[in-house]
């Protein structure tokens, strides 16, 4: 144990694999076969001992994390000979006058534990052929014993561990949950505090290894070790995974244990290691052996229906082909009846849980290329976009048409001043974030939009006019809230430069942002947005507004606060709007009612009330609307004029009023009468004056 692994990738030399698969297929052919059977070979690397396959193993296939596992897959396709662990100890075990005892106290976490003693341990390197295979597999040869344990792990998939027997108090192995506060210094030199959920391998007194993860320094083998205790065991995958995660310690051993090792191979792997130790002259294998196997699971039995396999895979596979594929994978036919076979699932295949899993085995071994292409027949269903999808498509096109470029910016961001610190809309933080930039969720599109504008401004890329439709997130007293918003940002002139002399190129300002926000609301069939004073600290206090809908705030519009603008490379006023799209959609008129077209002519009259600067346009407008004669069809503001001619602190507004009746041609006198009422109300409400 002890090698930190690279996720999911295993390297094995082709010549080693071929020891178990008697084929003369080329390495390219093997790579292709494995890939098409589900073990993706990313690349083939050259080594001293020939080609090495770089194999990716999916997390459900822990049984393939070994030479034998890979060989089993190849055999299933090639149908040669079933690969198994080389068995038996070729050297006669010797007697030894020491004893071992193994006690599994927590059998829920450890269903089998094999311990074997090797005496007269000799400190010498492993043979060259073994070292070469380890190196090709990406492992560093260390010494004879460690190399053998690693070699057997790669060959069989069973991680092994070697203890210095003389350092085990009481000559005992106790497999139990750690006690509260127990500590261990692991082989990497780190002191670790164990918790009561972690399984420990202990001697008579205290932990000597963290089961399935890493051994302890105390009982570590060294050059003076005389007797070795070899451990081979099966641990509960979930337990190993949790321990490894909690300690943030991942090893080749834990990687395999958390993916399930075959309990039936535990003793065989120990035997195989002993055989190699004897053959390599690394020690004397003794007869002292313990095999505690308190929980032996019966093989799983699954009924497999041939017709069901054909129905799921979509074509008819000849029965003999199915039977052969499953037999080659190690499935044992227990009973065959009309149309179905009861199979015993191999002990190394925890992923096979039910019939569909067997169907997949048949499908992948026979090859998915044989599956025909068909289209589903059945009830015709009405496809369609979501209401939000339809509406956002319309809005996107609408905003783009007035000159804003759509952007997509990050949802994750560092905390910053560009988000409004609303006490009822707190930031949602990511738990144990790896970096500040990924530490929380955006509450506003402003940071992303500004970044997009800034990035382009720095490179002189114009115009600076962007919009985004995306989710923002808040933590409120109701919990987590996720809402879809539309936001836009603009600075400088949006219209492209023109050689035409009289082309007007207005600079982005509050009114441009407001105008676009209004376009969005019209696209949502909402015509009654209100704009009122806002206290958004990100915005210029005199040039910003809350956007209100039926008395509720649904967004903001305004010029970025000059203090915040200073932080960016943009020199012009930066204007911004943001609105909650779902609320706009909810409020939108669902059905448009047709108004018949009047065939009578319009009468257009301008009025130019002069009012104090402090009188808002809204006030003027509402004063006109209060009178609202039936014949008034449209009110247009065509000019706002300030200057000495108008008077100090005064402004002159020009309103163009359109009158029309659906029933008759209007007479001068009735239009004049309406105008007179409007003027009178403006004088009363707004203290307006009319000149000339």
């Amino acid at each position: 144990m002890g090698f930190i692994i690279i996720e999911g990738i295993m390297r094995l030399s082709v010549e080693w694999i071929k020891e178990f698969v008697p084929t003369d297929a080329s390495s390219e052919e093997l790579a292709r076969t494995l890939t098409m059977a589900g073990l993706e070979v990313e690349e083939t690397i050259e080594s001293e001992i020939g080609p090495v396959l770089d194999i990716t193993v999916t997390p459900n296939r822990g049984d393939c994390l070994s030479v034998i596992g890979v060989a089993r897959e190849l055999n299933a396709v090639y149908s040669l000979q079933f690969p198994s662990i080389p068995n038996g100890v070729s050297v006669q075990p010797v007697k030894a006058d020491c004893e071992i005892s193994v006690a599994i106290e927590d059998i829920d976490l450890c269903s089998r534990y094999v311990a074997r003693l090797v005496t007269n341990v000799r400190s010498k390197p492993s043979p060259e052929w073994m070292q070469k295979r380890l190196v090709a597999a990406g492992m560093r040869p260390i010494n004879g014993i460690v190399d053998v344990t690693n070699y057997v792990m790669l060959e069989t998939g069973q991680p092994l561990h070697a203890f210095d027997y003389d350092k085990l108090h009481g000559g005992r192995i106790v497999v139990r949950r750690a006690r509260k506060g127990e500590t261990i210094r692991t082989l990497d030199g780190v002191d670790r505090v164990l918790t009561e959920e972690m399984l420990a391998i202990c001697d008579a007194d205290h932990p000597v290894a963290i089961a399935g993860v890493m051994g302890g320094e105390e009982a570590e083998m060294n050059d003076s070790t005389k007797i070795m205790l070899l451990e081979s065991a099966h641990f509960l995958p979930v337990s190993i995974r949790r321990t490894s995660k909690k300690l943030n310690l991942r090893t080749e051993a834990s990687y395999r244990f958390e993916r399930y090792v075959d309990p039936e191979s535990v003793a065989k792997a120990a035997d195989r290691a002993c055989q190699l130790i004897a053959e390599c002259g690394l020690g004397d294998v003794t007869t002292v052996l313990c095999d505690e196997y308190p929980v032996k699971l019966a093989p799983k039995r699954i009924v497999f229906r041939l017709a069901r396999a054909n129905a799921m895979l979509g074509y008819d596979i000849p029965k003999p082909e199915m039977i052969k594929a499953l037999a080659n994978l190690g499935f044992e036919s227990l009973e065959e009846q009309e149309g179905h076979i009861t199979y015993s699932v191999p002990s190394w295949r925890p992923d096979i849980q039910r019939e569909i899993d067997i169907i997949e085995e048949v499908g992948r071994i026979i090859g998915y290329d044989r599956i025909p292409e068909r289209l589903p027949v059945g009830v015709t269903t009405q496809g369609g976009d979501t209401p939000i999808g339809k509406m956002t498509a319309k809005i996107r096109t609408g905003i783009a048409a007035v000159g804003l470029q759509e952007v997509i910016t990050h949802s994750l961001l560092a905390p910053g001043k560009l988000e409004n610190d609303d006490p009822d809309g707190q930031r949602i933080e990511i738990r144990s974030a790896l970096s500040s930039d990924l530490s929380g969720l955006r509450r506003s599109l402003l940071p992303g939009l500004l970044e997009a504008a800034d990035r382009n401004a720095r490179r002189g890329q114009l115009p600076l006019a962007f919009f985004e439709i995306g989710k923002v997130f808040h933590r409120t007293h109701k919990g987590y809230e996720e809402s879809l918003v539309v936001g836009g940002i603009m600075a400088g002139t949006i219209a492209p430069r023109s050689w035409v002399r009289d082309d007007k190129r207005p600079e982005a300002d509050f009114y441009m942002a407001k105008g676009i926000a209004e376009i969005v609301s019209h696209l949502c069939s909402v015509s009654d947005l209100q704009f009122c004073v806002c206290d958004d600290v990100r915005l210029h206090p005199g040039r910003s507004a809350n956007i209100m809908l039926s008395g509720k705030r649904i967004g903001v519009v305004g010029e970025l606060h000059p203090e915040l603008r200073k932080l960016h490379s943009i020199r012009e006023k930066i204007c911004f709007f943001e609105m909650d799209l779902e609320r706009l959609m909810d409020a939108g008129t669902k059905k448009q009612v047709f108004v018949s077209l009047s065939s009578y002519p319009v009468v257009v009259r301008d009025i130019a009330p002069r009012v104090a600067n402090s009188v808002t346009y809204e006030k003027v407008l509402s004063s006109v609307k209060e009178v609202m004669p039936e014949i008034l069809e449209k009110i247009e503001l065509t000019d706002v004029f300030t200057g000495s001619q108008v008077g100090e602190e005064m402004k002159s507004l020009t309103l163009s009023l359109t009158f029309r009746s659906p029933e008759r041609t209007l007479t001068d006198s009735e239009v004049n009468e309406a105008l007179e009422k409007i003027r009178a109300n403006l004088m009363e409400r707004c203290n307006a004056r009319f000149v000339g």
Binding site: A311, I356, E360, P376, G383, V407, E429, A495
Partner: protein, 328 residues
């Protein structure tokens, strides 16, 4: 006044008309000869000085002269009008090679455009789109999708957690459970949106990406239906008659699970994962897995766009550089 005088007058008038250079001049000539105070009218007034027997003849001649002059005037007027129009048109000629007047126009983000194409292709195949939250419940993102508890199939290191039960969805597949809670088969559904995984950002990996997920449940659905559907979808997206290839892969929510590639423009391109919806999932929503089966497949929106347009760096999509955005 004699007949000869009249002839001379007419001859002068004709000469004037023929030499007139523009409409204004012509108008003046008209007044001069044919106006109520014009020369011909003056001739008419002299009729009383003639002997009685000559009067009708003289009157007739004046009138016919008037008529003939009117015709000549009108012909000359048409000539001059044509000429003046031609002159005006020549004078009004502009440099048609100067650039057209420009208008500010924004574009949609390439990922939006790709989503639109995906939607078009799938809606045409009868799929109904649904939307789901980006801040998703652990239960929908993992549990509902047959992820065993604490299994290596999902690594916490890859997931952005907000708390024990909430996370940023790692896959749009999270919508499956939300749909199956409410819908009974048959259904054909699709969803698209933003997903998040801890990934070191490079040209092919990003912590923020977009996916489309498609799933359907009906009677008698098999891997063949999946293959055919993928072929039709991929052909709609990439054009031509693409081939589809399956390779075994593992996703807890499908069994059999595959990854699929398409053969396009001379090479195999891996697109995403697919398979038959795991019967455990169907059963957990009360769907009879013996009667009904279904398939699911997913793929990355960025991936589609990268293939279609030869983009080689995934990071470009969230950088929002106008030079990039304006290309699509």
């Amino acid at each position: 006044m004699t007949m000869d005088d009249l002839d001379m007058l007419v001859a002068d008038a004709i000469k004037d008309i023929e030499t007139a250079q523009n409409i204004t001049e012509l108008n003046r000539i008209e007044i001069k000869y044919l106006g109520s105070k014009g020369s011909l009218q003056a001739q008419m007034r002299t009729i009383g000085t003639l002997p009685k027997e000559e009067r009708p003849k003289f009157g007739a001649r004046v009138n016919s002269s008037k008529e003939s002059l009117s015709q000549k005037l009108s012909a000359r007027r048409t000539e001059l009008e044509v000429k003046e129009l031609e002159e005006r048109l020549t004078k009004e000629k502009i440099d048609i090679t100067l650039p057209g007047r420009t208008f500010p126009i924004g574009r949609l983000h390439p990922l939006t455009l790709t989503v639109q194409r995906v939607k078009e292709a799938l809606i045409g195949q009868g799929y109904e789109f649904v939307d789901g939250p980006e801040l998703e419940e652990y239960a929908y993102n993992f549990e509902a999708l047959n992820y065993p508890e604490d299994h290596p199939a999902f690594d916490e290191m890859m997931t952005f957690y907000v708390d024990d039960t909430r996370l940023l969805r790692t896959q749009t597949t999270a919508l499956q459970g939300r749909v199956m809670e409410k819908r009974k088969p048959p259904f054909r559904m699709a969803t698209t949106g933003r997903c998040f995984r801890y990934e070191a950002v490079d040209a092919t990996h990003h912590h923020t990406f977009h996916q489309v997920d498609v799933f359907m449940v009906d009677e008698g659905i098999s891997m063949a239906d999946l293959k055919g559907t993928l072929k039709q979808f991929a052909s709609a997206m990439f054009g031509g008659n693409v081939q589809v290839r399956f390779r075994p892969d593992f996703f807890p929510f499908v069994e059999p699970g595959v990854d699929y590639s398409i053969f396009w423009e001379g090479r195999w391109l891996e697109l995403g994962g697919a398979g038959l919806i795991h019967p455990n999932i169907l059963e957990s929503y009360g769907i009879d897995s013996e009667r009904y089966s279904g398939f699911a497949f997913g793929l990355g929106i960025e991936r589609i766009h990268m293939i279609q347009n030869g983009v080689n760096d995934l990071r470009l999509y969230l950088e929002n550089d106008l030079r990039f955005l304006k290309q699509f």
